[in-house]
Amino acid sequence: MKTVEEIKAAIETAVPGAAVEIVLNPSPSGQHALRLAPGNAVEVAKFLRDDAELALDFLSNLTGVDWPDREVTEKVKVARTVTKTVDGVEQLVEEPVEETRKHIEPGCLEVVYHLFSIAKKHGPVVLRMRTINRTDQVELPSLTPIWRSAELQEREVFDLYGIVFTGHPDLRRLLMWEGFKDHPMRRDYVDPDDFEYEPTPHDAVLARAAAHKAAQVSAGQEGTGAAG
């Protein structure tokens, strides 16, 4: 079995222009991943499947991961000019000051693939692909034409995460019903507040139901919420 570095080199020689990045996994499992650029992912996947030595003919697992925007706090040293009294004279002095800066690291949606070889009996090779953002640029190429086992799993990721797989033969929701609007596996998903049934209604549920009812009455409509 080749290491991730060797697989990366093999991909880059076989598919010109393929950008592959190694994602190290610090856990004892040692399952390091390769991040592909979505642009030529289909050619890379075809190479991984058809290459005689790798022969990754079996896409076992395909799933999504949501990485929401996160606020990163870091401390930076900045040089700042301050007025200071040195030897009885006021002077402008450059002084290093520690400053706390916050910035938003933009989030994305990620798809993770676990590949094995049935012919060579090795694996896993872990691939990852990221969307540009979580809102409007969520397209990734479908690998169903390469490995048919992606067919239902990509539908599930589309359903629960909202990643659109271009080139999928039949991209519909798999588990949630048609007409459902949201993507429940996203980390910022909010449960609808109009649950019709709760086996043991407790205070929080009853309060939420009352608030929902009041909002409905004031809006003069019915059937809002995620199911809308």
Binding site: S27, S60, T63, E151, P169, M185
Partner: protein, 390 residues
């Protein structure tokens, strides 16, 4: 358009329209089979387009039992998901436990004591036998032999479930394995009971086979029906007895040697034709191989602890990282993929469900066959909806 040309075209083409949209094929009969059809093992729907008795299109419809197991598991601690894994494939709770425990052990690098490894193998193989016995029982039931053959299978399954009950306190929702071992130790009396049950299994399988394997009706109904080509099976990610029924030698017990499976001598049965009969036969032969594994494991089981006493149960927080662990569950490759961010809950928790992925090729196997055979082919996949829909 004649049905045969239509059929060939649909086989080739990927872009099949959704079944319920009118597409000008007025002579086709569209049938929604399920979700409460008795042959669907729960709540599963197949939308069929029929030309007389022949199946022209088949669209599986999922989600009737969906409760977003993965989302629930991401909101609770690692251990709190263990009892919930019982409810995935509720026929085989112990193998579900093992797959989850294995994935977490890969994530943290925990070692499992030897005695616990033996107990896991014993319980997993007992689970495999009772799963295959009831899968075959249901398959025969779907062939029209209502009740009686299923009860033969259930008679033996009862004995195995009694063993589970006396060990774990529950017949089906066992919740027995823990990260780094097992919940309680087995007693010497339990092992004796298990040996007795295992000693009775070969005669049960012989009896079952005498009644079924050479049965004219079973052969007529199963042979040459629902053929799955090995190249399609590999490409579509089919695993378990279905894959081996198509003649592909891939058993994770032999490939990954997870646990201590490299210590046991057993063979991997393979089919020749990839039809329903081969899938049936692979299951029968796998039961026999499981009995040989059980005999070896029950003979060699050592003493010692079943859990590292220093293993952390409360305040369990794996270091950041991720792991994919998989086992050969009775229905195929059951995998768990976990991402830890260092917190008490998994950041990402994914179940790789063999039952769902084995249904990818349901349409390919059913095209051109009769409606009555669809029931049979579907039964030979052996699914549990708790795992399909999660």
């Amino acid at each position: 358009m004649s049905s045969s040309t239509l059929n060939a075209e649909k086989r080739e083409g990927w872009n099949r329209p959704p079944i319920m949209e009118p597409d000008g094929e007025a002579e086709l009969l569209e049938v929604a089979m399920g979700p409460h059809h008795p042959s669907t093992h729960g709540v599963f729907r197949m939308d069929l387009a029929l030309d007389g008795e022949r199946v022209i299109r088949l669209k599986p419809v999922f989600g009737y039992l969906h409760r977003n197991h993965e989302k629930i598991a991401e909101g609770v601690s690692y251990l709190a998901s263990m009892p919930y894994t019982d409810r995935l494939d509720y026929i085989c709770s112990l193998t579900n436990n093992w797959a989850y425990a294995l994935a977490v052990e890969k994530l943290t690098g925990q070692e499992v004591p030897e005695r616990a490894e033996y107990i896991r193998v014993i319980l997993a193989e007992l689970t495999r036998i009772q799963n295959h016995a009831s899968a075959i029982g249901f398959l025969i039931q779907e062939m029209g032999a209502s009740g009686t053959p299923l009860m033969y299978a259930f008679k033996e399954r009862e004995k195995i479930l009694d063993l589970f009950e006396s060990l774990t306190g529950s017949r089906m929702m066992c919740n027995y394995m823990r990260f780094g071992g097992c919940r309680v130790d087995v007693s010497a009396a339990w092992l004796d009971d298990a040996r007795k049950v295992v000693a009775g299994l070969p005669s049960f399988i012989d009896e079952f086979e005498n009644l079924l394997s050479g049965n004219e009706i079973l052969m007529a109904r199963c042979q040459g029906v629902g053929i799955l080509r090995p190249d399609l099976a590999v490409n579509a990610g089919i695993t378990g007895p279905m894959l081996r029924g198509s003649g592909v030698n891939y058993d994770l017990r032999k490939v990954d040697h997870y646990g201590i499976y490299d210590r046991f001598k057993f063979r991997v049965p393979l089919g020749d034709h990839g039809d329903v009969y081969d899938r049936y036969m692979v299951r029968i032969l796998e039961m026999r191989e499981s009995v040989t594994i059980l005999n070896q494991a029950l003979k060699e089981i050592p003493g010692g602890p079943v859990m590292d006493p220093k293993a952390k149960i409360r305040g369990f927080r794996p270091k950041p990282g991720e792991a994919y662990g998989r086992i050969e569950a009775p229905k195929g490759e059951l995998g768990f993929y976990l991402i830890s961010d260092g917190g008490p809950n998994p950041y990402r928790y994914r179940v790789r469900p063999p039952s769902l992925i084995n249904l990818t090729v349901l349409e390919d196997m059913c095209l051109g066959s009769n409606v009555a055979d669809v029931v049979l082919i579907f039964g030979s996949v052996d699914i549990v909806l708790g795992e399909v829909d999660r």
